[in-house]
């Protein structure tokens, strides 16, 4: 499965290629720069070694030289900065239409759930060639989701969501590491990412024994917890209508405008008082401590699924009418 002595990590995502390109550029640049400096030092050391009767020549310095060797590196640095920033921008912006996987990290395991409902532990199955967006949170300390073959890493924090995404380009099994020290079994908090051909993936997905999609689970919880008594689509409820909320700007009571992303929905459920929607009273009960991370994820998935227009939101556009099967994700 893995080589015994690799010198280059497997390249298995679209990001990996661009990260490697920058890396190779930097290795070459560094090799050149050190070659220049070390050759100069060597040459000077030999050429100007102490000899009888030859004294050193006292040189004050040279402003022209100083400016040159400040400006040229600065110029090179700007190039590296921009290059690195462009890649980072891509890494941090999940494309629309990605299939979503919710990840809950805890000491010392990874609990993953696909939006289709399948649950996995320390193992993640994903289809080849399709964008996958991870929505990550932690139940305890900070962890970090790291797949070297994809060149992606994202810290996983308690109390909020972070996101990461990748598109696998090569079928196979790859390491999943926890990269942020998290206690005793930090080095045991490892797993595998299995990239399957799309057809194989569909087989795997249907054999998972999941009881409904995350959104439909979420809808059940929405009912059980009484959310639906206030949030109704007929504008008669005491709370705002949640249809079409995800991805939209929300006007708050205190004048701010925020975008309704996953973290906003999460916060609205756990501590509604923190951001009160304009025109409503802060009557929504606090759910902090009353719902588990998994239930919360399902609720978030449900609220996200209430979007009528798939193109409107950045992230989870699939329309899931209550209880229905998710529509077939398209291979991009």
């Amino acid at each position: 499965m893995f080589d015994t002595f690799p010198l280059w990590p497997t390249r298995a995502s679209t990001t990996a290629g661009s990260v490697d390109a920058l890396f190779i550029f930097l290795v070459t640049l560094s090799a050149l720069m050190s070659l220049v400096i070390f050759t100069m030092i060597m040459v000077f050391a030999v050429r100007y070694r102490r000899r009888k009767g030859v004294a050193a020549e006292q040189i004050e310095g040279s402003t022209a030289l100083e400016v040159t060797w400040s400006v040229i590196p600065l110029f090179i640095f700007v190039v590296i900065f921009v290059w690195g920033a462009v890649i980072y921008f891509k890494e941090r912006t999940p494309p629309r239409g990605a299939t979503e996987v919710y990840v809950v990290a805890k000491q010392w395991m990874w609990k993953l759930q696909h939006e289709e409902g399948q649950r996995e532990i320390n193992e993640l199955h994903v289809p080849l060639g399709r964008d996958v967006k991870m929505i990550l949170t932690s139940q305890d300390v900070i962890h970090s989701f790291y797949v070297p073959a994809f060149r992606i890493k994202q810290d996983v924090l308690p109390g909020r969501y972070t996101t990461a995404w990748f598109r696998p380009t090569k079928a196979g099994t790859y390491h999943l590491f926890c990269a942020e020290y998290c206690g005793s079994q930090h080095s045991g908090m490892i797993g595998q990412v299995v990239v399957l051909e799309p057809a194989q993936y569909e087989v795997w997905l249907s054999g998972g024994g999941a009881s409904g999609t995350m959104a439909s689970n979420g809808q059940n919880i929405f009912q059980q917890l009484g959310c639906s008594t206030c949030h109704r689509s007929d504008t008669q409820g005491r709370g705002p209508d949640l249809v079409g909320l995800f991805g939209k700007p929300v006007q708050l009571e205190d004048g701010r405008v925020v975008t309704a992303d996953e973290n906003y929905i999460r916060e609205s459920i756990l501590t509604p008082g923190a951001k009160v929607v304009s025109g409503f009273k802060p009557i929504m009960p606090v759910f902090q401590g009353l719902v588990s991370e998994e239930q919360l994820n399902a609720l978030v998935a449900y609220v996200k699924s209430l979007n009528p227009s798939p193109s409107g939101a950045a992230g989870g556009p699939t329309v899931v009418p209550s209880g229905a099967k998710p529509q077939e994700p398209k291979v991009q």
Binding site: W8, S18, V19, F23, L26, L29, S30, M33, M40, I41, F44, A45, Y48, R49, R51, A55, A56, E57, Q58, I59, G61, S62, L65, S70, P73, L74, F77, F81, W83, G84, A85, I87, Y88, F89, D140, V141, I142, S144, Y146, A149, R151, I152, K153, Q154, D155, L157, P158, G159, R160, A179, E180, Y181, C182, S184, H186, S187, G188, I190, T271, Q288
Partner: protein
């Protein structure tokens, strides 16, 4: 040795008084420097011992030598000891303490008693740290990340935090003393542009110590309070923010890297002109680059947090600023190289360390460019790539400089010469051992091996074995100077006042200097690095 007998008669800071009390109650900066030397060497060997155990554990992929929890404590305490109890005090508290007054022509530091107090604070902190280690230790990493440190670790976090808190005050007091001394106590004629660049480097370092250390001190107090009283500053379940801790911690701990490396740069800037018999190239630019490193160093902390969950735009700004701070470091490397041009170069031990420093620091700096590149940092941060990078800076750079400085000023400190050929041998061993230890870690990191791993997948083994092999070589390289320095105190050749033919006031007094440094208060009427007018010594001319 007839001369030995005659010189030994001379009264100096070492033989003026005897007895344990004369040392423990001394206010002489030179004696305090030696007290520090003893204490930090003690901690260096503790930290080194932990490092060796870590490397031995990593010899095999399975976690077999020690338990996982033990391993976690080993790397945590290796980091805490090496950073807070060795590297941060190393050059400032030993060489700086000894040399700052000598170099500017002063009798002592501005506040000799505060200087002694700072050593006692260090010792109290050290005793607490040792107690913490002996009674179970701490497993939070040197970084104390929350909420692990505040709510999950069941080791002695509070004790370690307090130890580092106290050592911080020792560091602040040293910095304060240097700033005041450099401002107020310079000899007549010792203008700012005649100061040795070692002094400029220490001035810049002191500013960081003064402005940065209080922040980490407060941060650790918050960790202690949160742990003891469950305050909820960093705990998200109480409305706190774990990232707040990281911001506060790195606000100090990034500049702390410059506390470790700037003094080392200062040392190298003294050594290179001396063994090139030349004034330093671009004095003003080297001095200014120290100050700008100190200032810009405060503006880049979040580059440790590119995957931690900070906003995209914050990341962009901190990446850009990180490249800015790389420029003054580059300027220094170019000026050192240019100083060699048309020099008259010899290759004595200190110079070999200076070469080693420039080489390893350059590699450390260049790999810093990798880490500051946002998209690439995502892959390599929190892997062995980072471990290799900061060891190139902090061991390859700071420690090389410290050893170079110890060799350069050892004749002044002890009044004896160390065996030159052994010195060169040790420098070579350190250089080779260092590269063998840490270069493979760059590859390991790019392959994706996370740091702080007790066990690891088998395909990483070959590189780990190489690294461990290097560590044993490195250990020999560090033990050797320790042995011959001790040997030289008794059997070494008696050192002349200025064995290297170096510029600087410290070489114009006797070796070792008298208690009040100069028999006559010096008056300076020459420029810095005035090598045109200083004859090269006879001894240094001979080769191998």
């Amino acid at each position: 040795m007839a001369t030995a007998a005659i010189t030994a008669e001379r009264e100096n800071y070492l033989n003026q008084e005897y007895g344990i009390k004369s040392w423990l109650l001394t206010v002489d900066h030179k004696r305090i420097a030696l007290l520090y030397l003893l204490s930090i060497t003690f901690f260096f060997f503790i930290g080194g011992f932990f490092a060796l155990l870590i490397r031995l554990e990593l010899l095999t992929p399975a976690g077999d030598l020690v338990q996982a929890d033990t391993y976690n404590k080993l790397f945590s305490m290796h980091g805490q000891v090496m950073i807070f109890f060795f590297l941060i005090p190393s050059i400032p508290a030993v060489l700086g303490n000894f040399l700052v007054p000598l170099m500017i022509g002063a009798k002592d530091l501005a506040f000799p008693r505060i200087n002694l107090l700072s050593w006692y604070l260090y010792i109290i902190a050290g005793v607490l740290m040792v107690h913490c280690m002996l009674t179970g230790g701490v497993d939070t990493g040197w970084t104390f990340y929350t909420p692990f440190s505040t709510a999950f670790s069941n080791t002695k976090v509070i004790e370690a935090g307090l130890a580092i808190f106290i050592s911080g005050f020792s560091s602040i007091l040293t910095g304060l003393n240097f700033v005041v001394t450099i401002h107020r106590m310079r000899a007549p004629g010792m203008t700012w542009d005649r100061l040795p660049l070692f002094i400029w480097a220490h001035y810049a370092t002191s500013i960081i110590q003064l402005l940065g250390t209080p922040v980490v001190a407060v941060t650790l107090v918050l960790v202690v309070l949160e742990r003891a009283l469950h305050l909820g500053i960093f705990d998200p379940t109480r409305g706190g923010d774990p990232l707040l801790f990281q911001h506060l911690f790195w606000f100090y701990s990034h500049p702390a890297v410059y506390i470790m490396i700037l003094p080392s740069m200062g040392v190298v800037t003294e050594i290179i002109p001396c063994f090139c018999r030349k004034r330093i190239f671009g004095y003003k630019f080297v001095a200014l680059s120290s100050i700008s490193i100190a200032v810009f160093g405060f503006l880049v902390w979040a580059h440790h947090m590119f995957v931690a969950g900070i906003s995209l735009y914050a990341a962009l700004i901190f990446s850009a600023l990180s490249y800015l701070v790389a420029v003054p470091s580059a300027i220094k490397v170019f000026n050192w190289t240019a100083t060699m041009y048309k020099g008259s170069i010899t290759f004595s031990t200190p110079m070999l360390y200076a070469f080693g420093f420039v080489g390893l620091f350059t590699m450390g700096g260049l790999t810093g460019l990798f880490l500051a590149a946002l998209g690439l940092d995502v892959h390599v941060t929190d892997t062995y790539f980072v471990v290799a990078h900061f060891h190139y800076i902090m061991v390859g750079g700071a420690l090389m400089g410290y050893l170079g400085g110890m060799h350069f000023w050892w004749p002044k400190i002890s009044g004896r010469m160390y065996p030159e050929s052994l010195g060169r041998l040790a420098a070579l061993i350190v250089f080779l051992g260092f590269n063998l230890t840490f270069f493979p870690q760059f590859i390991l990191g790019y392959l994706g091996m996370p740091r702080r791993y007790w066990q690891y997948p088998p395909e990483f083994q070959v590189l780990n074995v190489l690294s461990t092999a290097g560590a044993t070589v490195l250990a020999v390289g560090y033990l050797l100077p320790m042995v011959y320095f001790l040997w030289s105190m008794r059997y070494g050749k008696v050192a002349p006042d200025n064995p290297w033919g170096a510029s600087g006031l410290e070489w114009m007094t006797t070796s070792p200097p008298p208690t009040f440094n100069f028999d006559q208060p010096p008056v300076v009427n020459w420029e810095a690095y005035d090598y045109e007018h200083i004859p090269a010594p006879q001894e240094a001319r001979s080769g191998g």
